[in-house]
């Protein structure tokens, strides 16, 4: 069949594909090409002017940009180190719960925060951390500690991000590990039991190693978001007293771009972020494939 006849044979399929395709072209492809603004000066009237790497030169010599990069890396690393293991542990624990009702109760509660918007979560956490009436300070008062205004403390605010991120995501993120655990052959556990393994031993020596592949995959996926550091969270939980330690790339892009109207300069910053992100994900994918045989594809 010639190409034309093939096209004519399934013409209705192409008509059906047209609306979603048009959507992608207009609202996805055009703004992707719009990223060329990073190499231009923005003009309200008339065409933009090409300026080469001018904005990147300014960016890389600006101390503000380095603070922002530093904050992004620190916050992401903290979340990775302390947050990443929690869903794995939760999944292994939930899997040990034999009582059907208790298991269902735990699952339905710990998944819930994932469905709340970051505005709601920030509202909840600002309340939780209130120095006078917040639950967390009330509890630490019981143990004799004095109240801390966590939200405005430069020493604490990043930890607030780590803990509230775990509060929101750890439960839901455990689902993918739980699904992987369900696929482990029950025979492995029975064999271990016959050999006299206790609960902790089968968790450590059977469940955890069987999760290895899933852990690597999720880790790579998370690294792809490393340069984001959780914009919605930071944006809703930051305030002027702590901005110097929490301002990240995405909040910076928003502020200089949308608030200050430096469209081109801000696009340069977000293009930088995008490129690093792609290198990160490709880099970890190939390293992990080489080392463990597991990658994203």
């Amino acid at each position: 069949m010639t190409v034309l006849r093939k096209l004519r044979h399934d013409w209705i399929l192409y008509i059906m594909l047209a609306p979603p395709l048009a959507y992608f072209v207009i609202f996805h492809l055009i703004p992707i090409f719009g990223m060329r603004l990073a190499f231009q000066d923005y003009r309200i009237v008339g065409d933009n002017v090409w300026v080469g790497f001018k904005h990147f030169d300014v960016l890389f010599s600006s101390p503000a940009f380095f603070t922002v990069i530093k904050n992004t890396l620190i916050i992401s690393t903290m979340k990775m180190v302390f947050g990443f293991p929690v869903p794995i542990i939760l999944a292994i624990l939930v899997n040990e719960v034999a009582n059907r009702f208790y298991r269902k109760y735990v699952q339905s509660i710990i998944y819930l925060p994932h469905f709340l918007s970051w505005v709601v979560i920030a509202g909840i956490w600002i309340g939780l951390l209130n120095p006078s009436e917040g639950a967390i300070n009330l509890i630490s008062n019981i143990f004799g500690a004095s109240s801390i205004d966590y939200m405005t403390s430069k020493d604490h605010i990043r930890w607030v991000f780590v803990v509230s991120e775990i509060w929101r995501s750890a439960g839901w993120d455990s689902i993918i590990y739980l699904a992987a655990i369900m696929k482990i052959s029950p025979g492995l556990y029975e064999a271990a039991k016959i050999d006299g393994a206790n609960r902790l031993q089968s968790m450590l020596y059977i469940t955890l190693p069987q999760l290895y592949g899933t852990i690597v995959t999720v880790f790579i996926l998370n690294l792809g978001f490393f340069m984001s550091a959780g914009f919605d969270q930071v944006f809703n939980m930051m305030n002027d007293s702590v901005i110097s330690v929490v301002d990240i790339l995405d909040t910076y892009v928003y502020r200089i771009g949308i608030v200050n109207g430096q469209f081109a300069y801000s696009t340069a910053a977000s293009l930088f972020k995008g490129v690093i992100g792609i290198f990160l994900i490709l880099g970890t994918h190939f390293t992990s494939k080489k080392v463990t045989g597991n990658g994203l594809w």
């Binding site: 399934d10 059906m16 594909l17 959507y23 207009i26 609202f27 719960v97 509660i109 819930l112 609960r199």
Partner: protein, 290 residues
Amino acid sequence: MKKLDISKIVIYLILFLFSLAVLIPILNLLAISLTDASKAHLMNGLDIIPKQFSLATYQVLLNNPLITGGILNSVWITVAGTVLNLVLTSLAAYVVARNNFYGKGAVVIFLIIIMVFEPGLIPEYLLVKELNLLNTYTALILYKGVNVYYLFIMMRYFQDVPEELLEAAKIDGAGHLRLYAQIMIPLSKAGLATLGLFYGVFHWNEYFRSMIYITAQEKWTLQVVLRQFVIRQDNTTIMGGYENMFGGQMLDFASLQAGTIIIAIVPLLLLYPFILKYYTKGTMEGGVKD
């Protein structure tokens, strides 16, 4: 006597504490919002039972034009956005689920490129501005019109429809449009429910584009109102003109803020049983590699 299983107790306890950490803050907000304004100052962060029950907070909130407007705007954007999402996604998913048509490979590669490369904030904003969509709901209804990841999930639901059914319909003379509308869609209700929840939750919770695309206050969505009131602590904009009193009732801003958060959560709680049923299954099937 059977030996007490310590490890089991520890596991049950850890999970119980985690569940309390989620439940208590939400129950606390509910209790604060249901406490009479005169007793509101007696409520602390660990109280989960109202001190003196009163619905006054919700009476005030549901008479506030920014709150009621916000609810209506959010409902409209969520419903219209989700319907549009489902139409666009299922159309594309139907086509991609077909085995042999000219250009399928190119379409799939295009979709993967779309999935990997995200446009930046500024070019997107400038596009919306150039299309004259600033301050319109259209901009928000169209935002994230098709999620490629969800498209592939929908494709899998379509592929589960038995091939014999399609063949039988084709012999009866049905074309692609009829196969799509009369066989695929009715037989993939679970898939549509899953995607509907994915998209619906997304639209309801969206606040950032709503905030930068919509500047006119009367057009704000509930999340933007919530942000202004609770995060930015802007009592004047939200409750301005009431002067701490409403219709002879005393006002307590902490209660009003708590009530606004609860209002923003209620639709999610109502849908939560379905979310647990469909959303969880969809995520497990989509996320696990075989």
